[in-house]
Point group: C2
Chain length 147, copies 2
DNA sequence: TTCGTTGCAAAGGATTTGCAGCGTA
DNA sequence: TACGCTGCAAATCCTTTGCAACGAA
């Protein structure tokens, strides 16, 4: 299974193979979406009731440093994590409710032409936010229109 | 001056016209870029040495609630603020060093076609990040390549 | 045995809130 | 005067760190 591959990679780099780390990877691999540290610990405590939030953060930091996962913040205080994309450049539809991501192969950069004089492009971000098919908006409050 | 216009708007909505609020608006209007609360207070303390960070945050919250400014977090813990765009939809080149923004009229959405089945698009984000002409990268450390 | 990993307690940075005094209208 | 605004102190939320015990290789 894919988790083993990542665990082997980690072992090769001098890390130990712990059950907690494996479960974090498992969860992220099984959930194709951005999850918060809080979500992770809520899930992982089913297997490891004594798991601490610090351990989750430390493991997330390790995985991030090793390029295995990505951290992102959608203008919120709380960070969210997902498996890093290993296969090429692309963007995503992202569900603002559950964090689910759907790949999007269109990239706006080629259509952009030259950057303004003196501007050195480092990277770009393109995300389409909304509700996925499993998460429909609450009917009472219409979502705010932001352009 | 433009600040007066916003202050009048605020007054009409039941807020008081305080010098501190005016200076925050002044600073944001004069700096076409994303600034942090810390940057703001550092500047504003020249005029108001006793100004507290809480007041800055409270004013930023008011301005945000009234749609006058925008809050954004570039995957950092600290939030950044700028005047909200009043004139139509567009995106930006953003300097990761000083937060300066340069308007960009290309929008990737029209080229996108249909959203995946069941996905309700709420909004999107497109930003080109890099160094502006005033901020060149430090030569020693090459910036990390992120796609 | 070695050295990475963990939980606990505590610290840290960003942001918010309770409260009483101050200032604008 | 009325009520929004402010500073202070304290709280909150998210995240990191020091330390000693634990566990994988």
């Amino acid at each position: 299974m894919q988790t083993d591959m990542y665990m082997t990679t980690l072992k090769d780099r001098g890390y130990r193979l712990t059950g907690k780390r494996r479960e974090i990877l498992d969860f992220l691999l099984q959930n194709n979406r951005y999850v918060t540290a809080r979500e992770l610990i809520d899930h992982l405590r089913e297997s490891y009731p004594t798991l601490s939030l610090e351990t989750v953060y430390r493991n997330l930091k390790t995985l991030r440093d090793e390029g295995i996962i990505e951290e992102s913040r959608f203008d919120e205080l709380e960070a969210r994590y997902r498996m890093a994309c290993q296969n090429g450049h692309h963007h995503h539809y992202i569900c603002v409710m559950c964090g689910k991501t759907i790949m999007l192969d269109h990239c706006p950069m080629p259509a952009l032409g030259c950057a303004p004089s003196g501007f050195t492009v480092l990277q770009h971000r393109f995300e389409v936010l909304g509700y996925c098919s499993d998460c429909q908006p609450a009917p009472e409050s219409s979502p705010e229109q932001k352009n």
